[in-house]
Every structure is written in C-alpha cells, then in structure tokens.
C-alpha cells in the first residue's frame, strides 16, 4: 500500500540524513526518483528550486511534495494527497527526533571519545562526496538540454551554470540568482 511505502521510505531517508539539506538531495533523489519513480528528474529539480525560494528545510519540502505526488499518481484524490504529504514529512523527522532525545545526552558525554570523533570525521568527508554526487546526478539532458536534441538549450544552460557557480562562491544571495536565471530562461525560451 502506497501510504505504508511512503512511511517506510521517508523513515529511512530521515534516519540516514547526515550533513544537512544538500547532502539529503542525493539520498532523496536515489530513493524517490531512481528507485520509486514518484517524481521525474525534472519535477525533482523543480521542487529543489521551489524549496530554495520558500521557507522551510529542504528535506521537509521535498518530502511534502513527493508524498503528495506519490499518492495522487497512484490514483487517489487530492485530499488523500495532502494526507500523503503530511505523512511523508512526519516520517522524515520521526527517527531524528527520537535519536535527538535519546542519544544527545549520551553523545554529549562521549563527545571526547576517539571512536565518536573518528566516526564524525569520516562522516563529514563522506558528506562532501554526497553533495558533489547530488550535483552530478542532476546534470542530465532533462535539466540541461542535449547536444543532439537541444543544442541551444545546452549552451544557455552551461553559461547559466558557470555564472551562478561563480556568483554563489562569491556569496551572492541564492534567491537573487534563481530569480535572474528564471528571468533569463523566460526571455530566451518564450519565443
């Protein structure tokens, strides 16, 4: 049943979500796009974009959106979709909440133990790789255009990518960058 699957999958995503919102992208993409097919590659990146421009943690936003689409795609009414959205968001925070309450005292006491320190150090290294992989899996013909089918879009996309990459490293506000990219897209592709 779809609601049970949503519960289990987002429980799993929540439990293994180390390293903040961007690290979560690779995890959610792998489960929601590649394994379950609840969102297409394009829908996924659109939700990430919307998350950047609306309040709220990325994990909650993507869970909410994916929960809604998974249920409505399965043929249920929009009201049931809302239920799926709320369920997905609760599932994603459930295990971290329990751990935070149960383990935080323990972790505080053992924060100087070499094992805890080493594990956290290795996790930080892995998280850097996971964020890089999130960017890499999203570089696809659906998001950038392709040499055969949409060469013009590919050129525009690469230019936008390079400009935004450089500007973001210089700490320009991401919402400004998304706004300008959207405007560029509108001016170029509307014709």
């Amino acid at each position: 049943m779809i609601f049970w699957r949503i519960f289990i999958i987002f429980l799993k995503i929540g439990a293994f979500n180390f390293g903040g919102g961007y690290a979560m992208i690779a995890l959610i993409h792998n489960e929601v796009v590649e394994r379950q097919g609840w969102l297409t590659q394009q829908e996924f990146i659109d939700v990430v974009a919307i998350s950047q421009a609306t309040p709220g943690p990325l994990g909650i936003n993507v869970a909410t959106y994916a929960g809604y689409t998974a249920v409505t795609n399965a043929g249920y009414a929009p009201a049931m979709g809302i239920l799926g959205a709320v369920l997905a968001s609760f599932s994603v925070v459930l295990i971290p909440m329990l751990l935070m309450v149960l383990v935080s005292k323990l972790l505080q006491r053992h924060s100087h133990s070499p094992i805890v320190k080493t594990v956290l150090r290795v996790l930080r290294l892995v998280v850097v790789g996971l964020i890089a992989s999130a960017a890499l899996v999203l570089v696809s013909p659906e998001n950038f255009g392709s040499y055969q089918n949409a060469p013009m879009q590919l050129v525009v996309s690469v230019i936008i990518f390079v400009v935004v990459f450089v500007a973001a490293r210089k700490r320009v506000n991401p919402i400004t960058l998304l706004g300008l990219s959207g405007l560029t897209g509108l001016l170029i592709y509307i014709w």
Binding site: A53, P55, K117, V158
Partner: protein, 181 residues
Amino acid sequence: MTTYGQLYGSFLKIGMFTLGGGYAMIPLMEREVVDKRQWLSQQEFMDAMAIAQSMPGIFAVNMATHVGFKQRGALGAVCAVLGNIAVPIGIIVILAMFFRSFADNRVVESIFKGIRPAVVALIAAPVFNMARTAGVKWQNAWIPIAAALLVWLWGVSPIAIIALAVIGGIIFARIKTINNK
C-alpha cells in the same frame, strides 16, 4: 513556566522565515531561544548546535526537538517541531496541488528551464568550501571522491555509503587505539 503554545508559536515564527536552508535561521533562532525566551544559555545553544549537526535529520527540526524536550518533555518536543514545519508543509502542499497544472504552461516551463542549471550550480558551489571545513586533504580525498562516484556512476544508495562510513570509522578508531597502546 513555558507553555506548549509558546513552544509552538516561537518555532512557527522561526519556520516561517527559514529561507534558503537550515543554517540561515541560526541568528533568528538564537534571538528567539536565547535572547527573548531564555530557554537556553549562549553556551547551551552552541552545544545544542554541535549535537544537532552531528545527528541525522534536519538541523532546524533537531534544534526544535532539543529545545522543546528540555522545556516540556516529549510533548514539548512535538509542539516545537510541529510549529517549525507547519508553514513549510502548508506552502508546499498548496504548490503541489497547483504546480502540475501550471508546469505545462509555456511561461512557467521557460522560467524553470533557466532555473534548473542554476539549481545544480547552487548545489555544486559550496562543495569546495565544505571540503576545506571537513578537513579533506590529499591523503583522504579518496573518501569523498569514491562516495561521489559510487552514487553518481553506479547508483549506489547514499544510505549504504553512510553505513559503511560509520563502520569504517569505528574500525579505524579501534586500530588506532590498539596501535597507540
């Protein structure tokens, strides 16, 4: 005494203004939780941040859990978290209901065609700074590189990689302590 309503209300406010990722709301949360409500001291706030970052889960939600639990136990934690995620859930549900009917609209599609490569760039941009903070050096650079390639090229689940990192970290720490003895 702190009421459930105060916990809900304070974190509702924090959740409403968390734009662009969890870390953007740290100053806002600090003002609300430390200065205004005095639920945590400055030092407790810093300690809570360190723990919230090293645990799985969403940073803002972890902080809400910690503060809520400290004030009013389990139900307090639930109230704080519900407040924190109420507005975001509402906004995304409304967007999800209408976005699909707009997605085929020419204007919307044009805008998102421009935005998609920008999103990828925004994700890629902090990788190098993060690499420095995480302590990536020539000797250990293979760890993040291997993780990225496994997920990207072979579709390995990030869950497997995180589990492996935890196990690897424990084994590595054990070997080090044995060697030091």
